[in-house]
């Protein structure tokens, strides 16, 4: 049990976004966070990352875990990748280890950055600026930055939203490898339920300001629940790569 939150409530001003949510992220596992638009997936990730305030207790390996402490060992990747700027991809990834950067940047560190970028197929673009690459490449760059932080816990908000199918798979395969090899706890907010079914060890479904269900994909991703939570008629099938969810029509 790496990160757990109990009775977590989140409010934006007078509006309660989430109420009494319990979260368990396990080392070496990927947790999928699903639910309709605006249900509070991003807010939950931000609170877990220590970047927003919520009430309730968050603990790490059983010890209470302040927001500042969370910022230390949690890497969080925000959803929006649209903001371009003239930073190069190398610089963006380097910034992942802000604390270890001095007036001079060690060549070894740069080599490491370029290695991470290469893993995502961005090696040849490392000198390009963010505004000179595609939205998907920007998203991959930010993912590389999050990984470069070498976090114990990795929280990703829609990391595959702007990616083509191959890169969607590539990202999730990389995440799974990281989780397994480095024993990292990963939480991913994701809209693609098939990706959730295929790659997640655990799925948490948020609905109407609270946690509707939590468990294995097979337990959570049922046609009944999807009808209730999303308002869709869906067909859930099991094949060799995992659970597949086909949305048939809106109810």
């Amino acid at each position: 049990m790496s990160l757990s939150a109990e009775n977590l409530s989140i409010a934006h001003g007078a509006t309660t976004v989430l109420r009494d949510v319990n979260v368990q992220l396990r080392d070496g596992q990927i947790t999928g966070l699903i639910g309709p638009n605006g249900v509070g997936k991003s807010s939950l990730l931000k609170v877990l990352a220590g970047l927003a305030k919520g009430t309730g207790t968050v603990s790490h390996e059983g010890v209470a875990f302040s927001e500042a402490q969370r910022r230390e060992i949690v890497a969080y990747m925000p959803q929006d990748s649209s903001a371009g700027s003239s930073l190069t991809l190398t610089e963006v990834v380097l910034l992942g280890r802000l604390g270890s950067l001095g007036l001079r940047v060690a060549p070894a560190l740069v080599a490491e950055v370029e290695g991470v970028l290469s893993e995502f197929g961005l090696g040849a673009l490392s000198h390009r600026t963010l505004d000179a690459v595609s939205g998907g490449q920007r998203q991959l760059t930010y993912l590389a930055q999050a990984l470069f932080r070498e976090p114990r816990i990795l929280l990703l908000d829609e990391p595959t939203a702007a990616l083509d199918l191959r890169h969607q798979l590539l990202v999730f395969e990389t995440l799974r490898k990281l989780a397994r090899e480095k024993n990292i706890a990963i939480a991913v907010a994701v809209h693609d339920l098939s990706l959730a079914g295929q790659f997640c060890d655990q799925v948490m479904c948020l609905c109407h300001g609270t946690l509707d269900a939590s468990g294995t994909p097979q337990d959570v991703l049922t046609a009944d629940r999807l009808a209730r939570v999303y308002g869709i008629e869906a067909e859930v099938t099991q094949n060799k790569s995992g659970l597949r969810v086909a949305a048939l029509r809106a109810i």
């Binding site: 990352a49 190069t88 610089e91 007036l103 950055v113 290469s118 000198h127 505004d131 930055q145």
Partner: protein, 356 residues
């Protein structure tokens, strides 16, 4: 390209790093800029209506006995303070401009965006109108008033934005409100002033190096040094802020605190620069953009490059104004725009960047 392909990864890493080439290019740009700045500084010291020869000027500069006492006075008491003030103010406004554009995430931001210049002008105008003067240090009265008014406007912007979380949008709104407030106060003072005082106020507002002296130069220079020293520990955080607030927060930055810290520094830098030479425009807006065009966003290069560009614009303008009008004094604030804006246009037209 495949995450599982470790060999490919190693191969790419061992290839010559594009980052080190980029760094080399940036260092080259900095060096070329520094040489140009040196040339401008020398040129500024060598030009003047007295038409001193290069030999005499250099002799006076190094205190050789061959220099006449008049030459020494001209070089040391008149040219040097103005040149060094141009350098200091150019650097201070450029640094303030970079920081302001960074913390507000806005390419239109300059040290004057949040009303600092209007406030400084108001402070100076009030003193010029009332003729109040500080005991013991009368020469410091107008600068002190301009400085104080700038800090008051900064406090106002801070107070207004604080309640709403210091986001760039709120700060800009609060700043525009402050700008208008001090602009109208300044207009009111001008309205009350007699023509002679009015002329003094207008001249002050134009910005001029005429007031530079060995008395006030150390004040401005000290403020610049202190502010730069205060910026250095945050230099990577400032670079990170260019990713946007959310992403900067995600890499562990307390964005609000950083913004407040930098805001205070910009206020000090701007007040220190503006207090003695008046509101010199365009340097703070243009120098950061020109510098960014050469060295990119990494503030380790951007800040020194912007300072260099600011210094070049100021000393270059000073030379230009002396060439155009040897005897008279064209307010340098007018010349900086003439010199800086074509540079910026060139950069926009020739540049490949789609985003600032």
């Amino acid at each position: 390209m495949n995450a599982n392909d470790g060999a490919a990864t190693k191969e790419i890493v061992s290839a010559p790093s594009s980052y080190s080439r980029l760094t080399l290019r940036r260092i080259t740009a900095l060096s070329v800029g520094a040489c140009l700045l040196m040339a401008c500084v020398l040129g500024d010291i060598l030009t003047g209506p007295a038409l001193l020869s290069v030999g005499n000027t250099v002799a006076a500069l190094f205190g050789l006995e061959t220099a006449s006492s008049m030459t020494t006075v001209i070089v040391w008491d008149i040219r040097l303070p103005m040149t060094l003030m141009a350098l200091t103010v150019g650097a201070a406004l450029a640094v303030a401009g970079v920081i302001m554009q960074t913390i507000l995430g806005n390419p239109l931001a300059s040290p004057y965006t949040l009303g600092f210049s209007a406030a400084a002008g108001f402070g100076a105008a009030v003193v010029l109108l009332t003729g109040i003067s500080l005991p013991f240090l009368p020469w410091l009265t107008v600068p002190a008033a301009a400085f104080a008014a700038t800090l008051v406007s900064a406090a106002l912007v801070y107070g207004l934005s604080r309640a709403q979380g210091m986001t760039p949008e709120v700060m800009i709104l609060a700043g525009i409100a402050t700008l208008f407030l001090f602009q109208s106060l300044q207009s009111m003072v001008q309205y009350l002033a007699s023509p002679e005082v009015l002329q003094a106020i207008v001249f002050w507002l134009f910005g001029s190096l005429l007031k530079a002296s060995w008395d006030n130069l150390p004040v401005t220079a000290t403020i610049l040094v202190i502010c730069v020293a205060a910026i250095l520990p945050d230099i990577w955080r400032l670079t990170a802020l260019r990713m946007g607030d959310d992403r900067a927060a995600a890499v562990g930055i307390n964005v609000t605190r950083l913004r407040v810290r930098m805001f205070v520094i910009v206020a000090l830098l701007t007040a220190g620069a503006v207090a003695f030479v008046g509101t010199i425009g365009f340097v703070g807006l243009v120098a950061p953009h020109i510098a960014r065009g050469f060295v990119g966003e990494d503030q380790r290069f951007l800040l020194p490059m912007a300072s260099i560009v600011g210094g070049v614009i100021m000393t270059g303008s000073s030379i230009l104004s002396k060439v155009i009008s040897p005897g008279g004094v064209i307010p340098i604030g007018i010349v900086t725009a003439v010199l800086g804006v074509p540079f910026l246009f060139g950069l926009i037209v020739l540049g490949k960047r789609r985003h600032w």
